[in-house]
């Protein structure tokens, strides 16, 4: 017994020694030791951290459709400065623990010139410090939490801030209703979004007669929706995601017999399938409408998307698509390296814009967010979301 332990310990030490001599690095990290710079390979990659499995897997699937289509387009148009653009996918389940664990792996892979993802802000934010420290751009294209980019100067997001979305949301609600009941999802996103909504609603003089949050995994919302209905509102507003939005409207309509207007839901097939007829007339804010967009390149995107996947793209697909196009555009204007991407995001002022009213956009260097993307309104009609002029 003892000898075997000695042997094991010795083997361990020898192995450790070998590794040590092969790569004596110290504590400075990979970046400091390998003279960061461009790889000589002819493919550069964008690292993707996303939920392929787990509770957010549905969004992971939508993202991947957008990413894959975007990379195809970039490479068809000549790649990035002559190099082929690739994607390296890392499943994190949008779980902070896994994001933190996998982030150094992306940093260590020198072919990765920028990172996109994750779905949820807490998970994304757990990975940001690692990318920031390594000088790798973290492009949180889906992270609308207003504090998301505060980690450092390499953390960016083109996502419209919740302040803008919720201002637009409260404004359209004010047009239709004086007294409202509001429910919202109890997480960092929902909480923040509701704060913005409430501020604007107060400015507009809209009276909130009932409010409550709900946990994302609650299955019976009648205990909060009964008082919400009984407060006799002109409209019910839900600030949440797709499945819970469907649960709210289904409970209101099917179970509690509420017939008034509803503001809520999500532009996903999931929501529309789940809510069915109840979705009809639901109004939400969004950044993109496949049928309503008047921008030529966005219309081309819709056509390509349809050819590849057989359905129209929604907001999740278009933001994913746009994220890759943005980064490739930045790389083509500078160089396809980590430094190039960062410089591109700082200097380029005409990123092609697929969302909102199309055209181009640039970043605000103070908060590393896109200033001039405007939210649009969408309404569910005949089982589809269409652009709504208000």
């Amino acid at each position: 017994m003892k000898t075997s332990i000695i042997r094991k310990a010795l083997a361990g030490l020898v192995a450790a020694g070998t590794l040590l001599s092969v790569s004596a690095c110290g504590l400075q990290g990979d970046a400091a030791n390998s003279g960061s710079g461009s790889d000589s390979g002819d493919t550069v990659n964008i690292g993707v951290i996303y939920p392929k499995t787990g509770q957010y897997a549905e969004y992971g699937k939508l993202f991947q459709q957008g990413f894959d289509l975007a990379v195809e387009k970039v490479n068809k148009d000549g790649g990035v400065k002559g190099k082929k653009l690739g994607l390296k996918y890392f499943d994190t389940q949008s779980d902070a623990k896994q994001d933190a664990a996998v982030a150094p792996k992306l940093v260590a892979d020198k072919s990765i010139i920028a990172v996109v993802g994750d779905y949820a802000s807490p998970a994304s934010a757990a990975a940001s410090p690692t990318f920031q420290q390594a000088g790798l751009v973290h492009y949180g294209f889906n992270n609308s939490a207003p504090t998301f980019t505060e980690t450092g100067d390499h953390v960016w997001t083109p996502q419209i801030g919740q302040d803008k979305y919720q201002k637009a949301n409260a404004d359209i609600v004010a047009k239709k209703a004086k007294k409202i009941s509001v429910v919202y999802i109890e997480n960092d996103w929902g909480k923040q979004a509701y704060q913005y909504f409430k501020e604007e609603a107060e400015k507009n003089g809209t009276q909130i007669v009932y409010e409550s949050s709900y946990l994302p995994d609650s299955t019976d919302l009648s205990p909060i929706l009964i008082p919400a209905r009984d407060a006799k509102p002109d409209a019910v507003v839900d600030i949440g995601y797709g499945p819970d939005g469907a649960l709210v409207i289904n409970t209101l309509r099917d179970k509690l017999g509420y017939t008034g207007p509803y503001f809520g839901g999500q532009e996903t097939k999931e929501f529309l399938d789940l809510a069915g007829k109840n979705a009809e007339g639901a109004i939400i804010t969004g950044s993109f409408s496949a049928t309503g967009t008047k921008d030529a390149k966005a219309q081309q995107f819709v056509k390509d998307f349809n050819a590849k996947y057989g359905n129209n793209p929604g907001n999740f697909e278009v933001t994913a698509y746009q994220a890759i196009i943005d980064l490739a555009y930045a790389a083509n204007k500078t160089e396809p390296t980590r430094e190039g991407i960062q410089k591109g995001l700082q200097t380029v002022t005409d990123f092609p814009l697929y969302q909102g009213n199309g055209g181009t956009f640039k970043f605000n260097l103070k908060n590393r967010r896109a200033d001039n993307i405007e939210p649009i309104l969408l309404i569910a009609k005949d089982g589809k979301f269409q652009q709504y002029e208000g």
């Binding site: 003892k2 150094p104 934010a125 429910v183």
Partner: protein, 604 residues
Amino acid sequence: MFDVLFAGVIHGSAYALVAVGMSLIFGVTNVANFAQGSIVAVGMMTAWWLGTTAGWGIVPTFIAVIVVTGLLGLVMNVAVIAPLEGRKPIAALLATIGVGQVLDNGLQMIFGPQTRPFPKLLPTYNLQFAGVRFGTSDVVMVILAIVSMLGLWAFLKYGKSGQAIRSTSQDPEAALQMGIPVKTIRNLSFVIGSVLAGVSGIFVGLFNANINPMNGGTIGMTAFVAATIGGLGSIPGAVVGGLVLGVVEAFGISLFGDGAHDLITFGALLIILILKPQGLLGPKNDVKSEPLTGTFLGGGRPIELPWWGNLIGAVALLATPFFFSDYLAGVGTQVAIYAIAAVGLTMISGSAGQTILGMAGPFAVGAYASALLTTQAHWPFLAALLAAGVIAAVAASILTFPVWKLSGHYVAIATIGVGAVMVAIIRLAEPITKGSLGIQGIPFPKVFGFTLYTQQMMYLLDIIVLLLTLVVVTRLRSTHLGRVFEAVGSDREASEALSIRTGAYKALAYALATFFAGLAGSLLAHQYTYIDPTIFNSNMSILILTIIVLGGMNSPIGALIGSVILIGAPELLRFATDARILLYGVLLVLVILFRPQGLFARKA
């Protein structure tokens, strides 16, 4: 008012239906089946597929679900639970966690991840009462809950197999001598329990209307709470518990909002356990063998290394940050942080023999304490780290204080409640903790004026804390106090006879364990630089417990090895992206089956 009550009763009968199956299995096999919720999900998804894609009606779907879940129960018992016969029931409990993971992720792989509408196999929302609409489906569900309760009761009381089931559960040896085929009877209990789960899956599907393959975990946990409130093992109790929970939730939520949902559910659990420890209708005499206590294999002894072995190990570990790549160091930080919490847990769950299922609670308190002390009060990191441990221990001890007068498995269940309540309080204490918004911009650890900004530096810090933890815990084990913990763990009654106050010593061991969980929480917070309540979920609690099961319940070094495997494994299994978490469950089951004493312990 009346409509809220009514909504609560309907939701409660959905809980009741699932809880009946759970209570049955617990009552007759002494196994707390954590896979029960996942079997409900299997029934639900089978019915979804048959009802939509295949277009079957309610009757053939019903029969098909019975066949599928019945077979599943049989396979589960034969392959996983029966081989664990004769070992401490905690082995079976942990195996069911593994099975649950396999089922949940298997369902997601087969059916895809999206939430979907459940087919209307029976009319829903076609009736109205007190301003709330409900459907034939709900009526059938309530009737089914009552009928299955009465039917089971009559079967167990008067049926020949039912009587055999009861005698098997009371004394398997004696039952065998009386000519009862114990194996077959156990199979039968599992088949009945699974079929009940599967059938309730159909009705939960109809009730929830929107379903997801991953719903099993939540369904199982709530049913477990309902069954405990009613009295674990009591079948009428399961129904009463389900209804009580449904109604309490409905009123609590309509008063305080759904943001307080967890606080209401688990708060109700705690209050009932404290006021009426056996549950509302639980049997007066507590079960003799306590299913959730005891070390994994009674006599499993940790493998002890000689001092120089430990020294070499420590030096080798300390050397790793100097040649690990960013990636390895990043994984290493996670391994080390979880190992710190797990090593602490060996004190209470290993030595003192008390399974703790809510370690995420003190972990979260430590993380928040440290984050707030550094960002708000501008404490230096090291002081905040220590304070995080102390605060976690104090908070956990205060909340758990009334629990120690409970006996046996009710303590373990209460710790689930304590863990969940701690996180729920953090979520609601918004002025201090920022609630669901989370705390951002937590500084990297700063030690003597030097900021640790690389993965390797943080990893080195984590390892130093881990080694200190190992030294303290190993030293403690060989002190008088450590021996008392061992005595409490290996024979509670004998310890009481020696006038050792077992409850007090368990509380002390728990306080020590939560101190280390607090340290781990602090390290995690300063590495992520962002925390919010969703990080500290029940999966985290179960993960920490599983780590020490794997390594050997009372082996501190085993806890480290367990952490390397369980935190490292999902990374190693990255090649199998889809099946990653599924393989993880398989691994857990295999270890429990084939090396039950843990990896770093030898059989007695």
